[in-house]
Subunit: 354 residues, 2 copies
């Protein structure tokens, strides 16, 4: 690998001149510039950003750590962040924490040590993110809040979203509504549960813990939670799944158990799938302004990267919207009970509910 020194030697100039050519400094005689450029091509030289970074402590790279790359919600987020980054001359490097704090920390450290200009993160855990506390680059949280950290944050009004979903089912006459939720140590999990409970309470219903299962944001979690709910003596007549992948898992479990949606079970999901309309039936769900969430997060980071006085950290809360489609229907007295899956074939695991 060629270095600036070799280029300088080959072009018969000083390294300073090569550097000037590299940085498009205008006051280099065109003859020297030519010589340098030729040497660069000849030696197949590419400047070491590492060495450069060593001197000028600023990079045009930002990092984004998401929690699940196979989730379309997050990939849409990535697209938004990427668009804003490119508009501003930044490159985006991505890490996938896989909902795993250890991996998240690893990515965080790699990015921090690469000295990227800033980091956007979907924290896999909203509290006790000790390593995030000593962060030396601008940090913005997206989709999920980080407890007690005063940083730029953009999230959805999750309580409202879950409330709208649950309330919709209640107004359809359902009284036993299963929640396929997520762990409370992720703000999204906590808040969506709060919205669910709020709607129930408002309708004068008690919280029935047996109707609440906590999944892992992935399809498998929604699948298992649904199988468990189907085994209840008093099966729910409606399900609210707190994210997109878990909704998918729920639908698969329902399909396998030959529970017809919405005839035998109403289902409301969270997050839109752009291909939802091809599903049968089309899915009633809480839509988030996904692209906008990513966009605003990126813009907050860009703002913070400008030089000038640091702006006060901002919390942006965006609004969800309930999209009523065909997977939810009025409650009716239960039809002959659908076939229950064979108990022995169930992979039961301990419920996370305390």
């Amino acid at each position: 690998v060629a270095t600036i020194k070799q280029v300088a030697q080959s072009a018969n100039v000083s390294t300073a001149t090569v550097s000037r050519v590299l940085n498009k400094n205008p006051r280099v005689k065109s003859e020297l510039r030519k010589r340098v450029e030729r040497a660069i091509v000849e030696l197949d030289y590419s400047p070491s950003r590492v060495a450069r970074m060593m001197r000028v402590h600023k990079s045009q790279v930002i990092g984004l750590i998401i929690s699940d790359i196979v989730n379309p919600f997050f990939t849409a987020l990535v697209r938004a962040v990427e668009d804003v980054a490119h508009e501003n001359g930044f490159t985006l490097l991505l890490g996938n924490s896989d909902e795993n704090s250890a991996k998240e920390q690893m990515y965080f450290e790699v990015l921090a040590e690469e000295r990227v200009a800033g980091i956007i993160i979907v924290p896999s855990c909203s509290d006790d993110c000790s390593y995030l506390r000593h962060c030396h680059v601008p940090l913005v949280a997206v989709d999920r809040k980080i407890e007690g950290m005063d940083i730029d944050t953009v999230v959805l009004d999750n309580v409202l979203g879950a409330y709208l979903a649950t309330n919709h089912l209640l107004e359809l006459g359902h009284r036993r509504i299963g929640l396929i939720g997520a762990p409370a140590y992720v703000s999204v999990g906590l808040e969506r549960r709060q919205g669910y409970e709020k709607a129930l309470l408002k309708h004068g219903l008690a919280i029935d813990e047996s109707l609440i299962r906590l999944g892992d944001f992935k399809e498998r979690g929604g699948y298992q939670a649904t199988r468990e709910l189907l085994l209840l003596d008093q099966r729910p007549t409606a399900l609210f799944a707190a994210n997109n992948l878990m909704t998918l898992g729920a639908l698969r479990a329902l399909q396998e158990a030959h529970v017809a949606v919405p005839q035998d079970m109403s289902v409301v999901g969270f997050d839109d799938f752009h291909w939802g309309s091809l599903m049968q039936p089309s899915l009633t769900s809480v839509r988030q302004p996904t692209y906008q969430i990513g966009q605003v997060a990126a813009q907050l980071l860009m703002r913070r990267l400008q030089d000038g006085p640091a702006p006060a950290p901002e919390l942006v809360v965006l609004s969800p919207e309930l999209m009523i489609r065909n997977s939810s229907a009025p409650f009716r007295v239960h039809s002959p009970r659908a076939i229950v899956p064979d108990r022995s074939s169930l992979f039961l695991h301990e419920s996370h509910v305390g």
Copy 2:
């Protein structure tokens, strides 16, 4: 931001000792080690990987450049690469080229200049990737070949896959089969078209250029191609879409035009959706061993990262499998023609076919 010097000063040792502590060198007296560790915490010091890299020219980071982050095929690939990388103690940084050569080059340069240990790339363009030619780190191509570059490569047998799909439709009695293909400058596009043509020729049919439309690997491309095909005087009775997102676009166009699948149009796709079973009808498609493709690519890179003599570049070709489900059905004399979308509402664009 603290430096190693400050830590040394604060702990009353030399920078060498701090460095030894950092690198877990065992021959440091535990007392000094304690002092250093305390200083590190106190100063909230995090070593600069940039400076480190300057000395030891090797990093535990690899890069992966994919062409479309919203495509589930590529995110599954990412998961595979990630798993192998982590098993081997590497961290994976991701870039999304968005099927755009310029962006791809940008990511490539950033990763190369950050001096990652190696790069895996889904080239957005299979020829004339001049910047890839002077690559100083190990490079492996995945999903798509790069013309004339002798590097580790793992791809699917695309000709076979497309052949299987088309042949299946032919055996069902279809004679006018539309191809929703992809540009020939991407190896996948070229090869899938070749497989399509091969099947037609084998059945004694001529290639009808009017039945061939080239999309962009995205939903929109499949959607537009399908609308165009539906406008033909002699509409095809079956469609083969050369990737997953374009299949989705095709299905949407068909749905909008009230063309029933498979009654009025058989459809075969490429790549499985893991949620395909929730679609109505379930999709006949060419399945690729997606995870394995990523896995092998990562393993090839890992192998090349070992020290020792460089192994000869390898070309791994994996096999597709046709999954016959409900979106393809035997040809039958055409039913009363479905409603044609209003011509004026179509966004027609020039066909890419030469």
